[in-house]
């Protein structure tokens, strides 16, 4: 099956669902990388390059939204969630304005550009902002449907897209709902809860565990906030052990979100896979190995979680 980067899906979805005349798209000199150039080509009158000035871009998006537009603002995750955090908090989150942040090049899979561009903090940052929806799609169809759902949702949404091509994990007739996790495979010994490109690795880890006689459930959490508490509590109660996997810091992301839910409602061992340090230059596959973002490590942590029951 052909692989596709979710940033490509983002560009395609903007063209498809951007038929809605209310949609306007802003970019900060990265339209060729974020793929908003596809929207620019289709709807040149509703695309605005804002130059390398992210703080202004996010607040202009807020002003457009305050005037009836569905304003998409795109740049790399580092600059959307990082550099412009306070603009997002005060002018978009606090105001609950209809701004959709399309943040691409998230995580270490950015690769060769190195630590300065590998945003591993965006989920944590965006999750702390009241009113903000945080979505981290796993594959092409999920990314496209996330854009559609973001347009239909009244309020701010942060969408995290990747640079690296990923496999399809969802079926062609996939139904996407904000805040609703997806069980991709059932299991009884442990649950692997993954997000973004780690979902494909979770499915591979499941196969490895299966060969050892371990039955692992796999849950895709595309919406980190609001998180699907029910699917997590059910997994905790029915399988008694959880491993989380994300291409993000272990502080404040998916793992933290899952731990918050189970600690409150159904305590069980939770092993969190993510990063703890800055990234570095390298090929994505080399970096995944280096930082433990692999099916092998997920399988290892699953065994540990089961042992800790």
């Amino acid at each position: 099956m052909a692989k596709k980067a979710t940033r490509e899906s983002y560009g395609a979805a903007l063209v498809e669902y951007g038929k809605d005349e209310r949609v306007v798209v802003l970019d900060a000199d990265l339209s060729k990388s974020t793929k908003t150039d596809m929207f620019k080509k289709a709807y040149p009158d509703r695309f605005f390059n804002m130059g390398i000035a992210e703080a202004n871009m996010l607040c202009v998006a807020a002003g457009l939204a305050a005037s009836g537009k569905i304003a998409f603002a795109s740049t790399f995750a580092m600059f959307a969630a990082g550099r412009a955090f306070e603009q997002v908090r005060n002018s978009i989150g606090y105001t609950k304005l209809n701004v959709k942040i399309g943040a691409t090049h998230a995580g270490i899979s950015v690769g060769e550009d190195g630590a300065s561009h590998q945003c591993l903090e965006d989920i944590a940052l965006m999750r702390t902002i009241p009113n903000m929806v945080v979505i981290n799609p796993a594959d092409d169809i999920e990314a496209q449907l996330a854009v559609k759902a973001a347009i239909e949702h009244d309020g701010p949404v942060y969408m995290r897209f990747g640079r690296l091509a990923v496999e399809d994990v969802n079926p062609a007739d996939y139904k996407f709902e904000i805040g609703k996790g997806v069980q991709l495979a059932d299991g009884k010994d442990v649950t692997i809860i993954a997000t973004g490109l780690m979902v494909q690795m979770a499915l591979e880890a499941r196969k490895m565990l299966e060969a050892e006689g371990i039955s692992a459930r796999v849950v895709n959490i595309h919406t980190i906030k609001p998180i699907d508490k029910d699917i997590i509590i059910k997994a905790a109660k029915e399988t008694g052990a959880i491993v989380t996997a994300e291409e993000h810091s272990i502080y404040g992301g998916l793992g933290s979100s899952v731990a918050e839910v189970v600690t409150d409602a159904a305590p069980c061992p939770v092993k969190v896979i993510g990063t703890e340090s800055f990234g570095r230059s390298g090929k994505p596959a080399e970096l995944f190995e280096l930082y433990g973002l692999t099916p092998e490590n997920i399988a290892k942590k699953a065994r540990e979680a089961i042992a800790a029951k």
Binding site: D45, C59, A62, G63, L64, T95
Partner: protein, 282 residues
């Protein structure tokens, strides 16, 4: 402007000053200095220039105003109350835990507030976004923003200045409240933003100057801004921080502190005397 109308506006502006100082006094906190320096321009814009409807504050084609220096909202709240957006007596609830009149403006709580502001530099960008929306929709509403001169130290202001000029937002007018003082003192000593006019000119803006406390001067500048095509306009208003209350004038100490009872009574007396004098001249 006709002399009688000018006097009427001056009376309104001084009532706005009274209510702004009363709000800060009632809260025992807030920002009286800058509120007093923008009282006249806010009165002028809402009473003479802007198309707004207090009964329909979200009217689609209304003119918009973003108080980018959001801390001076006591003056904006007072003008909005005068216009009938909400009851004047609510001004005394300013900054109280059960009040909708937050310490900095909240567009989702207060009728007539077009953008939540408070973090300097952000409001002016949002206002630019509103002006861009009008252009996209071929609407003829205009967008105004008021910035402090200290606020010009925020880098985002200059990102915005590039943007509004680049997209030729001639429906966009900003006022720089050039009272020369910020929290830590003289703006030129804290971090010199001058020459303000040449900076905006070099960013491609039409630059005008005005006396922030002279309605004729404000009117002339706004008329010229409206007639300007192909570029946004910055009106650099020379103003007096604390204008209208003698002991607050030109004193950075009154940026963010509330008067005590004696000071409050003195402020009310000065403003009442001024209003009486203006009324007698009608």
């Amino acid at each position: 402007m006709e002399k009688r109308r000018k006097t009427e506006l001056a009376i309104i502006a001084n009532k706005v000053r009274k209510n702004a100082v009363t709000a800060v006094y009632s809260a025992a906190s807030g920002h009286p200095g800058g509120s007093l320096s923008v009282a006249d321009v806010l009165t002028y814009l809402y009473c003479e220039v802007m198309k707004v409807d207090p009964k329909n504050p979200k009217m689609a084609d209304r003119d918009r105003l973003v108080l980018s220096k959001g801390h001076t909202c006591p003056a904006l709240y007072s003008v909005l109350a005068y216009k009938g957006f909400f009851p004047e007596e609510d001004l005394k609830t300013f900054r109280r835990v059960d009040s909708y009149l937050q310490g900095h403006p909240d567009m989702n709580k207060v009728p007539g507030i077009d953008m939540s502001t408070g973090s300097l530099g952000q409001g002016v960008s949002a206002a630019g976004g509103m002006a861009l929306a009008a252009k996209i929709d071929n609407k003829d509403y205009r967008v105004y923003a008021i910035l402090g001169d200290g606020e010009l130290e925020e880098g985002q202001v200059w990102e915005q200045a590039m943007f509004a000029s680049h997209y030729k937002l001639d429906n966009f007018t900003i006022f720089v409240d050039n009272n020369g003082l910020q929290i830590d003192g003289d703006v030129c000593e804290v971090m010199n933003p001058t020459p303000i006019d040449k900076k905006f000119e070099s960013f491609g803006w039409k630059v005008l100057t005005a006396d922030a406390h002279d309605f004729d001067s404000l009117e002339a500048a706004v008329c010229e801004a409206k007639a300007t095509k192909g570029q946004p306009t910055a009106i650099i208003m020379k103003s007096v921080k604390g204008k209208g209350v003698s002991f607050m004038e030109n004193n950075a100490g009154w940026h963010g502190s509330a008067p005590n009872e004696e000071q409050y009574n003195q402020a009310m007396k000065e403003l009442d005397d001024k209003i009486a004098e203006l009324e007698a001249s009608l």
